[in-house]
């Protein structure tokens, strides 16, 4: 199994979700997160006091998949998240040793 993690622009979340569902992915986890890459942050002004806000809001999507489809799904996520502008985010894939479905105790690919 593999864990695909995607940190993307929050407004692309629906696109990514839809693309994964269309492929047949059953579930995923989304976390509101923040961070910065090359685009850095932005400046805000409050009564003349300027603050540099380094961390930009992002959606962090995590999805567990079987090894065979990992490459294909990574591509699907990247395509769905892309706007072509700076700050589109990152996607990475790591191997997963074990997974268990809490309700049934199913392990491995059956747990997905």
């Amino acid at each position: 199994m593999k864990l695909i993690t995607a940190v993307v622009k929050p407004h692309r979340l629906d696109e990514v979700k839809e693309a994964l569902r269309a492929f047949g992915v059953q579930g995923l986890t989304v976390t509101e997160s923040s961070g910065y890459g090359r685009q850095r942050g932005h400046t805000e002004v409050y009564r003349g006091a300027e603050y540099t806000v380094d961390l930009v809001p992002k959606a962090r999507i995590e999805v567990l998949v079987e090894d065979e489809v990992a490459e294909q799904l990574t591509e699907i996520v990247v395509e769905a998240a892309r706007t072509g502008k700076i700050g589109d985010g990152k996607v990475w894939v790591v191997p997963v040793e074990a997974a268990v479905r809490v309700r049934t105790g199913d392990r491995g690919p059956d747990a997905l």
């Binding site: 805000e44 002004v45 409050y46 009564r47 003349g48 006091a49 300027e50 603050y51 806000v53």
Partner: protein, 425 residues
């Protein structure tokens, strides 16, 4: 008794009452999330404390028979001798209507200072501070400015609704207290962004609405002056919003929501002393100047190094001075001129000097006895938790709620912490 006047003064009192919770929202949205409730209750508590003191002895000290031009006597302690039949004058309004109207001023004025002390003072000490400040600063100054025989009233200083007694007074008191209490931990290096700007705008809207009662109601009657004041209040406030936004756009590149809300308050403050004595063009000038100058003045704290957290000085003191001085020249009916300007300056600066000195002494007295400043740990973790055992928002599904307890309903750890603190004290 004049029914129309009485009805208007009573409704105005209710409008002014709304300003204190409005102020609580205005300030509450501007602080960080960990002290939002504390900021709200610092204003809200004044509805209790100052309302009670007003009836016990405040009204008597402010509007009782004059003693030497500086304070009222104790004839009306506990509103002794005043009944439903008592009128302010033949064919006037019930004294009770005047008492409740002015009570709202006494409630609002100390609350204005809370913005300078955001995030970092002990709640009990704040409560004591406003009780003492009301007693030895506000009640006398209100007497100077508005009571028969008050020395600034006798000098014909124009302060229709409280530029000196309310805004300069509270602005300079806030500065003195902020100097005694010191800067917030991390100021000015750490970002201290407002946690809820919609709340700030809501507060500004409530203040603006309530301010019609504050300003127009101060005529204590329904006549042409009342209407002129209402019109000028709206005009100057709108102009100040524009003034603030223009300055901000040129200087910082954006028209901010906080700037619009702040500009409104600056305009309201400046038109408070002046609006009844100027025409529409005068009000326009006062509003624009207040917006431009106050938006610049809020940056002074960074240059001068004090932490007036929510700009009580930059908005209320500076706005109050602008309105009080400008009406000296802009007053209609041949009143405005160098002579009147001199009187206005005496009014503004005497209140400033008195209020600064006494406020500083009071804050210092509290600081060296029971302590004004919160403990470092309490300030860092947030004064909401330390003094009110609450948090403002519960957005989190994980760890956001606590176990319920029978009996006291207070978490035992917190109760234990409170006990430990008592031992320390």
């Amino acid at each position: 008794m004049n029914g129309a006047d009485t009805a208007f003064v009573l409704v105005s009192a209710f409008l002014v009452m709304l300003m204190t919770p409005g102020l609580a929202f205005f300030y509450g949205g501007m602080v960080r999330v960990k002290s939002a409730l504390n900021m709200l209750i610092m204003s809200f508590i004044s509805l209790g404390i100052m309302g009670v003191l007003w009836v016990l002895y405040g009204y008597s000290l402010a509007f009782g028979p004059d003693t030497g031009g500086v304070i009222g006597n104790l004839d009306f302690v506990g509103l002794k001798g005043i009944g439903p039949e008592s009128l302010t004058e033949e064919g006037g309004i019930p004294v009770f209507a005047f008492v409740v109207f002015q009570m709202m001023f006494a409630i609002l004025t100390p609350a204005l200072m809370s913005g300078a002390l955001a995030d970092r003072v002990k709640f009990g000490s704040w409560a004591l501070f406003i009780a003492l400040w009301g007693t030895v600063v506000y009640f006398p100054v209100a007497h100077w400015v508005w009571a028969d025989g008050g020395w600034l009233a006798e000098l014909d200083v124009i302060d229709f609704a409280g530029g000196t007694a309310v805004h300069i007074n509270a602005g300079v008191g806030a500065l003195a207290a902020a100097l005694v209490v010191g800067k917030r931990i991390g100021y000015p290096k750490e970002p201290m962004r407002p946690h809820n700007l919609p709340l700030v705008v809501l507060g500004a809207a409530l203040l603006w609405f309530g301010w019609f009662g504050f300003n127009a109601g101060s005529e204590l009657a329904v006549d042409g002056t009342t209407a002129n004041m209402a019109l000028n209040t709206q005009l100057a406030t709108g102009a100040a919003v524009l003034g603030w936004l223009v300055y901000e756009r040129l200087r910082h590149g954006a028209c901010t929501t906080l700037g619009a809300a702040s500009g409104a308050i600056a305009g309201l403050v400046a038109i408070t002393p002046s609006g009844a004595d100027v025409n529409a063009m005068g009000a326009l000038a006062i509003g624009v100047v207040a917006g431009l100058v106050c938006s610049w003045a809020v940056s002074l704290k960074y240059k001068l190094g004090y932490d007036d957290s929510l700009d009580v000085v930059g908005v209320h003191l500076v706005g109050g001075v602008i309105g009080t001085l400008m009406v000296g020249f802009l007053a209609v009916d041949g009143v405005g001129g160098a002579g009147q300007f001199g009187k206005q300056a005496i009014g503004a600066f005497s209140v400033m000097a008195f209020s600064f000195a006494v406020s500083w002494l009071l804050a210092k007295l509290i600081q060296v006895t029971i302590g004004f400043r919160a403990d470092e740990d309490d300030e860092t973790a947030g004064v909401d938790r330390a003094f009110h055992a609450e948090t403002a928002y519960d957005f989190s599904a994980v760890g956001g709620s606590s176990r319920s307890r029978t009996g006291s309903g207070i978490d035992q750890d917190a109760a234990q912490t409170a006990k430990d603190k008592k031992v320390d004290a």
